[in-house]
Structures are given as structure tokens and as C-alpha cells.
Symmetry: D2
Subunit: 309 residues, 4 copies
């Protein structure tokens, strides 16, 4: 582990101390995940994900599916087959038997998307109780992009260099200015005069300031999170976190991660109409959108899934 | 209904249209709640709560508790007794049989506290999809208060007049400045030059900007919300919403609201030690904190609940 | 409405009374659903589903997706397009804005599958508090089938006539005998001697005895229920309930029901490997299971989805 | 560990194997809980609870409450104070950061009460897939009690010896008879003739047959479970499980368990009226139920909480 630039010396020391402790346990343990335990995996400019605790591994999924008395695993090949079957048929409850706890540092506008995943446990750093530090998310150059033409929600082409500079500067100054207002409203700690209550003062801070939380969820819900948030339609910033989470899952439960990628992430769902079209195409029929019975948009989505654009 | 100052003419017209529609239904219906249906009940400087739909009434609680075939109600006095019993003994599931849907306008820092209540359904106005308008929450004079001395989370004494003026001005200007940055980054809609994507641009906006959402929950979870958020320890701004919600519940399910106030809002929970102390006091013993076995803090809380400070 | 054979006269009268009440409301109302409101829709030999209350309609989905001030609907064609888009892209939260409450009578072994759907509210008839009546589920002739050969979970060919008769008789007698034990343990109500507590006595009753509950959920979770439980892999008995629920949804939110059938019920999810195979087939390649890279089981599932068995 | 009488040799061997494995881990580990890990803790006549996995300890609660970078704990005395504060003020989210997974064997009528706790993960032994074994719960002598006079839900005085014998015999025979019907409907495994599908056959089995599941929940929800199910109003059979769970928690998170007993299990909630009465009593007033403004039932509950009956 190298020091994380966004952390204080004291924080890095606390992390290091946790990394050095070793316990004996009768519980199942995952070496590849232990390697990165407590380590701040960098995301965006000041963010991170730290895996702080976990419970279960691939064998726990198998054990729960079989309601067996011993460890789940018999042979890796059996386990792979069973896990793949469970994923394919959306038997989701065995995946709920694995649990993971993360410490995450993330911009507030990302936190607001993240929290929409309700089946999880959260403890957030309290800006009523403590003073926030001045870390603001400023998009990297390649993320300063224009509103997309076709997608009302997303971003399109990169802005030109001059514009990018202007915008990055504006965002930086906006953060600094707001932070100065925040600190001045809070008052000098040593001053005689009391400052404004923290719970009000923080309201002037912009949505790109970083916050932190402990977040805990089970593997099934983590997959749901990754499926939605690593998707190209998701906003880039939360996607950056989802991609790290996918790497974490690959370390933690490699068989489940493999099945997830095969049957969820890189799969496609075809509607009743799309299946009808497919059948006709396989029978040698030459079909255009007009005689497909599908809307132009759905037709485009289908052709794209089939790599026939 | 009078027009809500924060709404456009078109919005007020849409609301008026909904208020004028009348349907026939076989469902139970609550006149006192119908009176305010769709009406924006003002909260804070630009916020509101609108009851948009509801399902069930006091009789639905009774019906579910009895799993009866007809309407729940037999006699109001029986119903009151049963509902009071259910509330007292925390039989919560019958209260889950009533559902309410609200349209709420609220500052983002309030929304971030609100969303922590997970057993609810939410659809929020999307700042990826649309441009936010420039409504910012500026605390009223009596809410510009200093950090509390004793309570690390709350606010204490009101600031003096000069300071209040300075702070209100700083908050207003902070909002205006951030909003100007936001609009300029978005670019002119009619300009040739594409602006920054909305999903990034919104990150410069401060946490006191208003957002809106549809929020739906059941009566049990609404009571949980009110119990936590109308509590003196809750931040004033969310308390303002919780108090309106309590008024809504009084209209909607008056018997349940009465039981809730009697057994939850104005009740107190006494620990094992506190009960021991009480028993000794009732036996005529004269007890001080020192010989109570309780910590100074708990002793204070107990004396305060007993009105003996 | 005709009388439901499984109900007492008093129960039928209570239902009739509810059906005759009419209220005025400003809420949205769905005529096609009001028609069957309170009516016991028969399922299996003694079961039923009664829609007891509901909230929202297709327009509520649109309204929530747009966070609009008025009624959601603009034009049916727009609404259909938007609802279909939401379903296709699994934007599930707007569907959560509709809520429905049912009164269901069902065998306990079905209830045990049903309750696994956690995002719902339940109040069940209490056999601690009251005495259960002697309704037992006995499968109809065409459901007395052998254990499936290929499917470790399901049923296969119908048993022959003699066997069916033996089994139906054995199930009937088993129920009668257990019920006699139950009643005798409870004791004569008018006897001097106290009987066994109901909460223990009920433990002798078999899993095919009927119970009842009020069950309430939102439209998204109802779709999840139907997708899983109307599936051919689900046990016949719960499928019978899921099919009635699909008919209820068609009355309640016809546009959402249409999208659900198109994109969820009659859709198929193709894995990464399946899509690769499809692409090669569309390019004219002749592929067998052996060179598909898929397991025999997955290959069979794919061919079946494509109607190429 | 001694062998559990209800388990097969093979099952006991699987458990023994798990108990012998030791892993190294950087995660927090709880020695007192590791001692009983995998061990079937007996409940009722054939049931058990086995702790199969866990995550977190008292320090994890502290860590989450502080959103700290290192291990939560500073000094045990600080931790005790903080945990007690969190429990007293119902700040429940830090307790959600600890997770536990159990393997439970329990009668189906108990499972039906247990499953009502929705915030948990479950995988149950499938009687569609496998054949159930013939373990039936028969209450011990001291649990064969009459219906309570005052409590419509509970049990009262023990039945007399002759009756107890008759009832225990009737329950045993009822189980044996139903199990014989079950096996005969399933057919001989080696016979030419196919038997009835397992998913139907199991419907003849009574509610006191044992089932098994893996059940996983967080500490907050486990406390909710214990608070409701170790309560004297809960049915004896589920109480027996709740009491073992309390012992498990005492091993796992002793500080949280201590706070839970002090502020939840042995606490009492006093209504607004009850507090008014208390204040008057402490002022020396002599109050009877008649002039208390409370119902006889509530008055009785209050006097009982105060030990003044």
C-alpha cells in the first residue's frame, strides 16, 4: 500500500495499523481480498473505496443454496455450475449470504445517487457534528463534456480546450469561495464570539464537496448496484466507483463475479417482439425496421445488441 | 386554496385542475384530507408539502388487525380502544395498511436527511435531465443561531442582529454567485456553442438549493419519520416538514394520530435503572444522582422527563 | 358478483355492503378495477383474491417519472411510450408509486412461498387468537402428477386414475383426521375443562389448510411477484394466484401491464455467450452445441427461447 | 462440542471439520463467539441454532458512529458510554454494521412467525427438491397448558397429568400418521411406479414438523427480533430461540448486549398520561385508577411496571 494523497498522516497511520493486525478465525477467509483490506483504492480526484470488512465467499453461496451442514464447496467445477445456474435463473437469495462493508469518500452529488440503493446500511460523516474539509471534485479534462444531443441525461463530446480551462477554473473558484463563506460563518474557534451552528453553515457548500461514509450491503444488492451504476447510461462519476467495486468482487467471489458478467453485465434482454424478429431472421427472412413491428428506438437497440449496425 | 408564491402560474393551474376533478369510488375516503388534497402546504421560505394521493383510513387499521371481510369499523369507541392497544404494544403491521403519497419541495440538505428513511418510494426531479431553478433556502432571522454549547449537533442562542444580517446576506450572495456560474457553464440555450452537460454543471450548486420529489410511504413508517424528525434533537428545517406531516396525519387518521401522540411522541422510555430509581422514590426515598447508579447525563434526562429540574 | 361458495352468509353480506358504498373523491380512480373491488375472485378449490383498496393508475407512473405538478397523463400515446421506455430500461421507481391491497385466502404451503416477497405489508389471520376453519386444499385431478424426471423441483406426468383417487382420498382423510385432533385438543367451548391453548393446538394441522391475510404492495413489487410466480418453474398452486393477479393488473394499469408482458414476462435474457452464438448464426454460420461454447443445458434453453427445438 | 442428538453422523462430521479449520485474517475477530462457532446450540426437542459466520464486533459500532479511519475502539470505557448513548437515543444505524449468519432448525409454525422479520436474508431447505425427515416438535410437559383466561393469545395454567399424556400422544400419533401418508404418496424410490411430486406430497405434513434455514441479519434487526420474541407475550416456542440468540449476542458484542438489556429489554415506555400520573404521585398525591384518567388495563400495566401491585 502506498499512502493515499488525500489522507492525513494520522489517517494513514490508523489504516496501516489495521493492515498489520492478524487474527485467527474459524470463519471462511479470502486471501485475494485480504490483500487489499483497509487499503484506500483511489477513485476520482480525492475519493476512495476501502474494504473494511466482509463475510462469506463463493462457498457461502453454495452452502446456502444447498442448506448444507458443512462448508458449501465440494469441487470448484460443481460450484461454478451451481453459481452460474443460480445467476441465470435469478435465484438471488444465496447471493445475499455474503456481506461486505466499505468506507467510501465521494462527492455529495454522487452520494445522492448512491443512497437511492435502499437495501444497504449507511453511517455518514456528520456535518452537524464536525467541520467538513475542503476537498472538492473537479472533473478531469476528458470529463468536461457537452450536454449530449441524443441523450437528455448524459454527456456528449468533449469541450474544447479553452472552454475546459474556463470551466475547471470556475468550479475551483466556486468551491474556494463557498468554503471561505462556510469557515467565516463558523467563526474562529478561539474567538469570544460564537459562530453560526454547523448544521446551517454547511448549507452553503456545493454538491461537489466530498463526504464519507461506511456502507454495508450484501453481494446480491452489490451486483444490482454495479449492474445499474457501471452501465454506460450511469453518470461517469458514479461509474468510476462501480468499476472499482467490480474489481473488488472479482477478488472476493470470483465465481459469482464471472457468472455476473456472463449473465447480467454483458447479457441483453430481448422483448417478445425482438424474439419474434430474431426467429424470422434465423429463418432467413430479410427484415427492416418498418416490417419489424418495433419502434425505431427499439429496433436500434436490438441491432446494436446484435452488432449489426 | 390560495396560490403558492413559489409556483408558476402554469403549476398553480395544474394543481387547480386536479382539485376540481371529482371521481366516484367504492374505496374508503377521508373528507378532512380531501379538503387539502393537492394543495401546497407551505414549509420554510420556498418549500411545500402536497398530499397527492392516499389509501385507507382509521378503519383500514382495524380491518387489517381483525382480518375482517367488511369495513373495519364497528363503533368508534371500539376502534379507538383497538388502535390505542396496537400502538401501545407496538403491533405495527396494521398501520402499514394505510399509504400516502406526497409531492415535496425541500432544500437538498434536508432531502439528504429525509432519504435516510429507507422504507419509502421516491422519484426526484432530475438535474441530469432538467435545469434547476434558483430557489435557495435562507434561514429566517430566528433560526440564525450559534452552535450549541452543550449539544455538539444542534444550535443554541440566536445570533445578534448585525451578525444575522451579515450571514443572511452571505448566504444569499453565495446562492446567486453559484447559480450564475451554473447558468454560464450550461451556456445559452440558443447559442451555437454547446454548454457543459447538466449532470456536471449542477455540482457547483450549494446544498441549500431546493429540489422536489414524489415520496410515498405507509402510516407506520410515516409515524417513525415524525417521531424522529419532529423531535427537538432533529434539525429545525426537517422538523418544519415533520410538523406539517403530523397535521396531515391528524386529518387523515385521527384515531391513529391521537394514539401516536399519547404513546410515542409525548411518551418517555425509562431504562431498567430509571425504573429502579422511580420505585425507590415512590417508596419515599430521597435520592440524589450520586446514589442513583445513573450517569449525570441519564439522571438529567430522567429528572427532565419527570419535570423535576 | 355471485356469492363465493367458501364464504359464510355473514361474510358475503359484509362484502356486498362494501360493494354498495360510493364515495366522492378527488383522487384518480380506475373504473375497470372498481368493477371487481371487494369481489372474491376464486382461486384453487377454496381460495380467493379480493382487491380491497388501491392507489394510483397509469397516469401516476407518468406523473412520478416527470415529477409533474398536475395529473401525469398528457396523451395516451405519449404515456404508452414513456411507460414502455421505463419498463424496458428497468427504471422501476415510478412503478412503485401505485399501491394495491388484497385480501387473500390461500393454503399455508402457498403462503410460505408468498411471504418470501419481503417488500410488502401483511396482516395474517391469527391461529393464536382464533380457531381455524376446516378448509383444506385438495389438488384437482389434473394436478395429481408424478415427480418430474428432469426437473428436481417440479411435477411431471399426471398419475393414473386409480392412483389419483387413492391420493386425493388420503389427503382428504389426513385433513379430516388432523382437524378432529385439533378440535378435540381445544376442548368443548362449553365444557368445564379448559382445552389446550390454541397456539399449540394448531401445530397438528397440515400445510394444506387455508389461511387468510391482508397483503399490500406496490406495482413494481407486484410485477416482480408475477414474473417469478406466474413462471412455469413456479409451483402450480401459487401460479394460480399469480395469474389472477396479472388479470387484476390488466384492469388497474393497462399500459404498465402491456409493457410488463412485452418486456418482462414474454422476454428472454441472453447471456454474453448466447449473443455471440446468435451473431454467428445470423452471419449464416451453422452451429451445434459442441462448437457453441455453451453447456448442453444452456444450449437447450437458448434453442427453446428461439423456438428451434 | 458434543454431538447433537438430532444430527446424523455425517452432519456431525461436517460440523466438526468446520470447527477445526483455522484461517488468518486481518478482520476483527471475537474469541468468545469463535468458541461456539458452527456448534449446534440445542433449542426445544429437535431444534438448534448454529452461528455459521459473523462480521464486526463492539468496535465496529463505534467505528461507524465516528466514521473513523482506524479501528473504532479507543478505551473500553469510552466505547461503553458511546454505545449506551446510541442505544438510549435509538441511533440504530451503527448497530446495523455488525452482521451474523445462523443455521437454524425449527418447527414450521415457529418459522412462520420468524419470517415476519423482513429485514433479513433467508435460504430454506426445499421440500420441493428434497424429502423432509420425520422430526416433529412435541411440547415438553410443562408447556402443555390451557388457553389463557385473560390473554386471548397465550397459554395459561398447565393441564393436568392425564390430559397432558393424552395430548402428547395425540400429537405424536398425528405426526407419525401424516408422515406415513407422505412417504406412501411419494412412492418407493426403487419402484417402477412414479410417486406423487414432492411439492404436493409435503402439503399433508403438520405445522410442527421441523424445517431448516440459513438466516442472516444485522445486529440492529437481531435486537428487534429479540425484543419482540423474548417478550413474555411471544409464544413460548419462538421465545426459546430468542433466548439463545440473546446469549449469542452477549458473546459477540457484550457492550451492545448490555446496553440493549438496560435500555430496551428491561425498560418500560410510559405514555403521556402515565407520566402525568407519575409526576402527581411523586408530588405526594394519592391516586387511584379512577382519578388517573387511564383505562383499567393501562393502569394495571403501569402499576405492574412500577412493581406496585
Amino acid at each position: 500500500m502506498s499512502l493515499h494523497s488525500g489522507l492525513t498522516e494520522e489517517q494513514n497511520a490508523s489504516i496501516e495499523e489495521q493492515r498489520l493486525q492478524t487474527q485467527k478465525t474459524r470463519r471462511v477467509s479470502v486471501e485475494a481480498l485480504e490483500e487489499v483490506l483497509f487499503d484506500p483504492l483511489p477513485v476520482l480526484d480525492h475519493g476512495f473505496i476501502r474494504v473494511v470488512d466482509y463475510m462469506g465467499d463463493d462457498s457461502a453461496i453454495v452452502q446456502a443454496a444447498r442448506v448444507s451442514y458443512g462448508r458449501g464447496t465440494k469441487h470448484v467445477s460443481n460450484d461454478r455450475g451451481l453459481i452460474s445456474y443460480l445467476m441465470r435463473h435469478r435465484h438471488t437469495s444465496p447471493f445475499e449470504m455474503c456481506e461486505i462493508k466499505l468506507h467510501v469518500k465521494l462527492p455529495i452529488f454522487v452520494a445522492r445517487q448512491w443512497i437511492r440503493h435502499r437495501t444497504a446500511n449507511v453511517n455518514e460523516y456528520s456535518a452537524r457534528y464536525s467541520v467538513l474539509s475542503d476537498d472538492f471534485y473537479i472533473p478531469a479534462d476528458d470529463q468536461l463534456a457537452a450536454q449530449a444531443d441524443t441523450n437528455r441525461q448524459g454527456r456528449g463530446a468533449q469541450l474544447d480546450g479553452a472552454e475546459r480551462e474556463i470551466i475547471a477554473k470556475a468550479m475551483r473558484e466556486n468551491g474556494e469561495r463557498a468554503y471561505a463563506v462556510y469557515r467565516s460563518m463558523l467563526g474562529e474557534e478561539k474567538s469570544q464570539k460564537p459562530g453560526l451552528a454547523r448544521e446551517i453553515a454547511r448549507a452553503v457548500l456545493p454538491l461537489n464537496i466530498y463526504t464519507e461514509w461506511y456502507w454495508k450491503t450484501d453481494l446480491h444488492n452489490l451486483f444490482q448496484f454495479i449492474a445499474l451504476r457501471a452501465d454506460p447510461h450511469a453518470q461517469y462519476e458514479i461509474r468510476a466507483y462501480a468499476e472499482i467495486l467490480l474489481e473488488v468482487v472479482r477478488r472476493w467471489t470470483p465465481l459469482a463475479a464471472e457468472a455476473f458478467e456472463q449473465y447480467r453485465m454483458k447479457s441483453a434482454e430481448f422483448s417478445k417482439s425482438a424474439i419474434d424478429v430474431l426467429r424470422r431472421m434465423l429463418d432467413g427472412e430479410n427484415i427492416s425496421q418498418e416490417d419489424s413491428g418495433m419502434s425505431p428506438r427499439e429496433w436500434r437497440e436490438l441491432m446494436s445488441a446484435l452488432g449489426r449496425e
